[in-house]
Symmetry: C2
Subunit: 204 residues, 2 copies
DNA sequence: GTCTATATAAAGATAGAC
DNA sequence: GTCTATCTTTATATAGAC
């Protein structure tokens, strides 16, 4: 019998467990605010064990983890957008719901700090991934809507970036302080933007 | 003769020079990514000298500096809004121009990392300042516009927060990558939002 | 695959000279 | 007001035992 592939909630292999936990830490706090002990100890191992799986140490782990994080964001975003073929509003709402339920993706922190701490090749790789898997994917929705005539003329890349920044910034509002969920807030903001670019259901 | 107050580009007193430089570092990179040497050495002093001016060390310096930073953001924002009594669009554009020309204010990083590293009283103080001097000030513009009938019904706090997050996120787009300035981008986004909440110049 | 032990470097912080 | 020197702690990283 093969060494039983881990079922649903079973223990994953150590490498995956490390990546999972490191992702939740690195992606929300950035490279400088997380230590190798922060990653290792909650997993029941010492920080030295991390070097067996990731000989490149902290930087290798960070790059791997953030690449994973961006790809996961990207595929979740893509899946959300595809899940609502009906209307642009539905697609954007699904996308926002996905983003809002993920750990925040803090592009300011990435640009101002994390990427500057990496070797330039890795930094550029991560930048390109963010651009291609996240921003470009969102941009496409606006571009296609313009072509289809469901929204008026606008800068699709700017709308995508603005919407993304807006939605991500909701992560910083303490939900206890407002009487709305983040998803409700995101939906209201989306409605304002869509109205602002002359969205009309069903095109032309 | 009094010890000559520093004229325009003259050297400021050490304490102010430290606060100025620390502000530019702490506000863009956060508490963990800045060391006391990063602050002291470019000012031509050693990190030990900082303890003469700020006996509380790094945390005291960070709190003082960020309080200053938030107040500066707040008064610049207020001045910008007051400078354009004519129209809501003009006021929001002036506000955005101010924000975009300041170092980024990364609320996600603050909430997820910096504030958690401070003693709770200081953390709450900074949170309250952000809320009262930045978000509430912007919110007022929307509230008053609703009352005046220049925009339609909407959640003014949400609009303020959304606009702020949107504008701040422009700091993370590499200007070399687009053919627009950050101010132009901010203005386009403002126009979309205003249209989305039924802005009509001159009210009612 | 993970540990203990250790090396090395860097950080925050304090004491005391100047 | 600022320095040098030192202390303490913490971080990354490596070596070698198990």
């Amino acid at each position: 019998m093969t060494p039983r592939k881990p079922s649903l909630k079973d223990e994953l292999d150590p490498r995956s467990r490390i990546l999972d936990h490191a992702e939740s830490l690195f992606s929300t706090k950035g490279i400088d605010a997380v230590t190798l002990k922060d990653i290792a100890l909650p997993l029941g191992m010492t920080h030295a064990a991390l070097y067996y799986h990731f000989p490149g140490g902290k930087e290798e782990l960070f790059v791997l983890v953030m690449e994973r994080n961006i790809r996961r964001h990207g595929s979740g975003l893509d899946a959300a957008l595809r899940s609502q073929p009906g209307s642009l509003r539905g697609r954007l709402r699904a996308a926002a719901a996905w983003l809002v339920n993920q750990p925040p993706m803090d592009l300011i922190r990435m640009a101002e700090n994390d990427l500057k701490a990496l070797d330039p090749a890795s930094a550029r790789k991560l930048s390109v991934l963010i651009y291609e898997l996240i921003l470009q994917r969102l941009t496409r929705e606006f571009s296609e809507a313009i072509e289809a005539g469901t929204i008026g003329p606008c800068d699709p890349g700017l709308m995508a970036g603005g919407l993304f920044g807006m939605v991500e910034s909701l992560h910083s509002v303490p939900v206890a302080m407002v009487r709305k969920t983040r998803i409700e807030m995101a939906n209201e903001l989306i409605d304002v933007i869509l109205k602002g670019i002359d969205y009309r259901e069903g095109g032309q």
